[in-house]
Amino acid sequence: MLWKKTIVISLGLSLMIFPFSEWTIGRPVYGFSNQVIQQGATGNDVIELQSRLQYLGFYNGDIDGVFGWGTYWAVRNFQSEFGLEIDGLVGEEVKAKLNKASQYDEGYVKEQIQKGNDFTHYGGVPKKQQTKQDNNKRDQNKQTEQSTPNEPTAVNVPGGYSQNEIQLMANAVYGEARGEPYVGQVAVASVIINRVQSSSFPNSVSGVIFEPRAFTAVSDGQIWLTPNETAKEAVIDAMNGWDPSGQALYYFNPNTATSSWIWSRPQIKQIGKHIFCK
């Protein structure tokens, strides 16, 4: 009897040392790709990086797959704690140290992201306590689950703008210039931005776009067509500082322009069908 007891106890003890969960998860294979990860990056590498940093308690933000400032400080703190060069870049050495010091439960993280739950990935805390399921979301998530697998839940946006403004401007650009070359679309987007910055026009993107009679696409409803990706890309380029229009505030199509006033404006250049002017 005593013999049996010893076995049970020692088995139990061994379980305490090697908890089952450790085995069932299985050691993650080296998840990171071999790219150096730097600030501004998005994707799976960043999700893993954030999870691992959170596991160690360096990162307290959302695991969203975008390497933002929060992640940047976490990486720097990690580097200083582990005696590495502090540069905020995640290269081979940092990855190896991270791999050694932390665990990454990829299945769990990806599942939470897919379900759209609020979750964390701290080491030493049971997973159940780290998720908050939002029941309202569950039904909708079932539908979207398949369409967006394993994608970051956040995106980079140019400073001072939001995705919805990008969308609104993409609508305007698409309505106004969808037949134009790419440069022409960027130029139209930069006219909108130049107007926002000018003191003789409204001070917001929506104010400029919806100013009465400012854009024909707004007046005739073409602004509500669904824009394509090109228009969106053009808008993001313009927001990031590209301005092929040469700081223009107006543009017109010489074939259809009815106003003689617009012809009196000093012209800068023609791109595609549009003449851009001051």
């Binding site: 839940t153 995106v155 070359p181 790419y182 400012a214 040469g246 106003s259 250049k269």
Partner: protein, 446 residues
């Protein structure tokens, strides 16, 4: 029999069409009236606000106590911004009405600058009082013109929708009182030229742009060569070259090409052939290289610009492209005005775009005085709630468009990062920015 049925049928359908038509007409009218009312509200509010503005400037002039002055100026600032908002809602874009808007925003700027100043220490100067008097006079003229228009509008029941229609159909708006009235207002404003309203500080409008450009004017052949070197050594025969018109801030030459799915575009200055904007557009395949590798490619591309040293200050990934912002550095000081942005395709690391307008506009050999304040002293000026993570020296352009040397502190509070610029000469907090670059995807939440 058939005849009666037919007659009945046509009678019913005619009545039906009539009723339907009448209802459509009613609906259309309702929408038109709705739009008309919006215009009317904006117009009447504009006249009211301009009148209010005139009164407020008047009472500012009459005021003696300084405690009252600041709130009064702040009030003027608010009213001008509201008036500007009203103008933005009127269908005037294709009419020459921007002088009035500019005038309003200039009053706003003036009021703002004086309102935020500590008037106990730095009271209004003689010059500023004189400027206020001028503004008072000008606003009176605008007010009177607008009131006249308003009176006619109310007396004759004029409708803004007619202005819309007139503007839409034909430019020569013959006898439209509203349009004529606004033209008069605009002429009045033009009378007091913007120069005399100069808000007391050198704004960028008055300084010449791109005055630091080096080099000689390019000949056509030289321009083609330069363009081709920036656009992937494309055959100069494929390039289309055009010169900029007289509206351009700086004379430029534009080169563009179309080569299968790929098209390219380059703006360069006529003087010296410096590339201002370069864009290449082609379908980009799945991302293969990382942001870091792409930033190295961007950096080696920048080196072709003949700049001593630049530093990467910002990088972000948008789908399968990476966008990188570089600034000029010298003696470990960052010069934020001298900025350039590059775009790199992440499928093969090709540089897809360059925007160096800011760089060529601002870059010059400046003399920057060494900092007066020590870093320790500057640190004390930062809000103690913030945790300072990184610091360096940098040059920025401040609110009044002056280049100032600052201590730059990257700080954190909770989970947010702030960038603080402390003037290295007088310790003033020049600028505080919240650094935010990513945004959650809303479509996953809703």
């Amino acid at each position: 029999m058939i005849r009666t049925i037919l007659i009945a049928f046509f009678a019913v359908s005619t009545i039906g069409a009539g009723v339907w038509g009448y209802m459509e007409h009613q609906d259309k009218n309702a929408v038109l009236i709705q739009a008309e009312n919006n215009y009317q509200r904006a117009f009447h509010e504009l006249t009211y606000n301009v009148e209010l503005l005139h009164d407020k400037i008047g009472s500012t002039l009459a005021m003696n106590s300084r405690q009252q002055l600041s709130p009064q100026l702040a009030e003027i600032w608010k009213v001008t911004s509201e008036a500007n908002g009203d103008v933005g809602q009127l269908p005037l874009t294709l009419m020459p009405f921007n002088k009035t808007e500019e005038f309003l925003s200039q009053i706003g700027d003036f009021a703002y600058r004086t309102a935020v100043r500590d008037l106990e220490k730095k009271p209004l100067t003689e010059e500023e009082v004189q400027k206020l008097e001028e503004l008072h006079e000008h606003s009176r003229e605008i007010k009177n013109e607008l009131r006249k228009v308003q009176n006619v509008v109310l007396r004759d029941n004029l409708r803004w929708m007619d202005v819309e229609l007139a503007l839409a159909t034909n430019d020569e708006v013959g006898d439209n009182t509203i349009v004529d009235g606004f033209r008069t207002v605009e002429k009045t404003v033009e009378g007091f030229e913007t120069a005399e309203l100069g808000t007391g500080s050198g704004t960028s409008d008055t300084t010449e742009n791109y005055r630091f450009l080096s080099g000689e004017n390019l000949s056509k052949e030289q321009a083609e060569k330069v363009a081709s070197s920036w656009l992937e050594d494309i055959d100069t025969k494929k390039l289309r070259m055009t010169d900029s018109g007289k509206g351009a801030e700086v004379p430029t030459i534009t080169a563009s090409f179309q080569d299968g799915e790929k098209n390219g575009y380059l703006d360069m200055t006529k003087k010296g052939g410096h590339p201002l904007t370069m864009m290449i557009s082609r379908p980009i395949k799945k991302a293969k290289i990382g942001l870091h590798e792409a930033s190295e490619k961007a950096k080696s591309f920048v080196e072709r610009l003949d700049v001593d040293s630049v530093e990467l200050v910002e990088s972000s990934q948008y789908g399968n492209t990476g966008v990188f912002r570089f600034v000029y550095t010298k003696d470990d000081i960052r010069y934020y005005p001298d900025a350039m942005v590059l775009k790199v395709a992440l499928d093969n690391g090709e540089v897809m775009g360059l925007s160096a307008r800011e760089f060529f506009n601002y870059h010059n050999d400046r003399k920057i005085n060494p900092p007066v304040l020590t870093e320790e002293k500057a640190r004390e000026k930062v809000n103690p709630q913030l945790e300072i993570q990184q610091q360096r020296l940098s040059v920025i352009e401040n609110d009044i468009k002056e280049e100032v040397l600052c201590y730059e502190f990257l700080t954190t509070m909770e989970n947010t990062t702030y960038r603080i610029f402390i003037n290295a000469t007088n310790g003033e907090e020049e600028k505080v920015e919240t650094l935010k670059k990513s945004e959650m995807k809303y479509n996953q939440e809703v």
